[in-house]
Assembly symmetry: C2
Homo-oligomer: 343 residues x 2
């Protein structure tokens, strides 16, 4: 909150509120013909195909306003959506943003949220092009659609991995999940003793990964520079296990990955142990890291194996070989998909 | 509900649930390159521009499951979104559908909802191309994005009405609002005496307009056949007053409309009187009729004035003349915008 003077939303009304919040949303992309202000946004990407993906963020499920600053929340809501465009090797260009919110929100709170939304738009060169703002009786929901573009020949789907391909990923895993555990713990401490000021400096990296994830557009750029087109790709939103299984099942192949090759930040390993959970479990099932998981043909692997921030974690196998994780002790386990934990 | 055997969603899990619900979603449009099943839907409309619009439907705000059958709700959620594509003179082609739902929903309930969604897709030749399914702690939310296409030269915006243009609209107004009043009244009666079986036959038209609105693609088609391109257009979702004011303010013009020219169904007039509200108030502020409001250049008006289902309700004037409604007694009133009533 940047001001002490708080304005109820009802003072502005629906139309003025939207005008107020989107007045800084200038259009950066030539393909954005019409943004906010009409019944539909208008987009023109000559000779390219249009990508559309959508995500809902629900209060109490995907975020907790007790520890998610609204500016971070706005940034994250955009970031996780853009990640889907990158995951098909495309470039996100436009986002309509829809909100459902209750009257407990003030105009100033929404200004914070939009500051985060617009910061993410700036960072990733994306235009805010409309949406819908609605009320809710309870709870806060953000629904964002990412509209992207890609040359038709450059699209990378999930269902095109081939036996023998190398399984690669960007960055490291488990940090976002462990950041969430830290925040949940601090929330409990705070609820018991409101006077306690938590010292979170030591956990900064993990908390940042949870509250302000960055989708990996840089990896898309690097792969393009190296002229490597992945054979299949997905972003790791549900956890490595679930997302690798999406690739394998849709491609009708198996996989073999190696625990020792799966990158984790030293802080993630340390904090996993502190919480008495196995680090590899956090990497496999933690989710929300928004790293890219992709497969690369054997002839291309040489060109990426030395790239900092890309790890080769296994191989695609015949479907009959199943979905296997090999531990450092060379024991093998079946990978299992984790979906929702909420219903 | 078509079955007595109810399946908790948790029995299927997230991924199987989506697979189950979307298995009948076949792609009808050549521009739908990839639908459900990857990180993003892929769309290609050569030489056309892409239209993107989005709407949230929130339980307790936009619908009440006590009187909205889930199949109707699914149909309506799609219909109101498609209306936005028609309102810029475009054709909707694809929809991603996102849901946030609590564990009180069963698989069978969602099957009903999707039956309605897919029926609307069939009726309007639109493809379901993915989305996001999430849980919520409480309440049910549907977020739909309509992706459409239009020849660049055919787009009709809100901000291009000219002084002297005729103001036209399709269908009739107020019915959806009055249908809602009937449903609300019956809900109260039911809550007081659960044994009462309401007899709603007499209100069928109004209730249908509320629960199963049909966006006016037929008007778009007729205008095209008559080679009339409106100078500005919007769909009437918030009420005639609000939506006409959007056109006028964005076009920097005034307007003059005539009460006697505003079409209402005889049943709407009758039921408005029964509720002791003025019929014209329902027409001006009722909302949710999803008719099209458009302006037509004077030289084009001859070609549409005899079309059944299109009414000419007034003229665009200089901005300085303001926004006026003339009653049958030739009194003039200022039109006032109504936004949300909820915050």
């Amino acid at each position: 909150m940047t001001s002490n003077k708080l304005t109820p939303i009802s003072k502005l009304g629906e139309f003025k509120l939207i005008e107020h919040l989107t007045k800084n949303a200038t259009l950066q992309n030539p393909s954005s013909i019409k943004g906010v202000g009409d019944d539909a946004a208008v987009i023109y990407a000559k000779d390219k195909v249009t990508l559309v993906s959508t995500d809902l963020l629900v209060e109490g499920i995907h975020f907790d306003l007790m520890y998610s600053p609204l500016k971070h929340l706005g940034y994250k809501a955009v970031a996780v959506n853009l990640s889907d465009s990158f995951a098909v090797n495309g470039q996100p260009k436009q986002i309509p943003v829809s909100l459902a919110l209750s009257s407990r929100f003030t105009v100033e709170a929404l200004e914070e949220l939009y500051a985060g939304i617009l910061l993410a738009c700036e960072t990733y060169h994306v235009d805010l092009v409309g949406g819908d703002t609605s009320s809710s009786n309870k709870g806060f929901i953000i629904s964002i659609t990412a509209v992207g573009e890609v040359e038709p020949s450059e699209i990378v789907y999930r269902n095109t991995a081939k036996v023998g391909d190398y399984i690669c990923m960007s960055g490291n895993l488990g940090a976002a999940y462990l950041g969430l555990q830290i925040l949940e713990r601090e929330k409990q401490v705070y609820q018991e003793m409101a006077s306690m000021q938590p010292d979170l400096a030591d956990y900064k990296y993990l908390i940042q990964r949870q509250l302000k994830p960055e989708p990996r557009h840089d990896i898309i750029d690097v792969l393009q520079q190296m002229k490597v087109k992945p054979t299949a790709m997905i972003d790791i939103s549900d956890g490595l296990s679930s997302d690798l299984l999406h690739i394998c099942r849709q491609s009708e192949v198996g996989c073999r990955i190696f625990e020792t090759n799966i990158p984790m930040h030293p802080k993630s390993v340390e904090i996993a142990k502190m919480f008495q959970v196995s680090p590899i479990t956090c990497a496999l099932n933690g989710g929300e890291d928004y790293e890219l998981l992709f497969t690369v043909a054997p002839e291309d692997v040489k060109r990426i194996e030395d790239i900092f921030g890309i790890a080769i974690i296994g191989r695609i196998t015949e479907k009959t070989e199943g979905y296997k994780l090999f531990t450092s002790a060379n024991q093998s386990f079946d990978l299992v998909a984790q979906g929702w934990k909420h219903l």
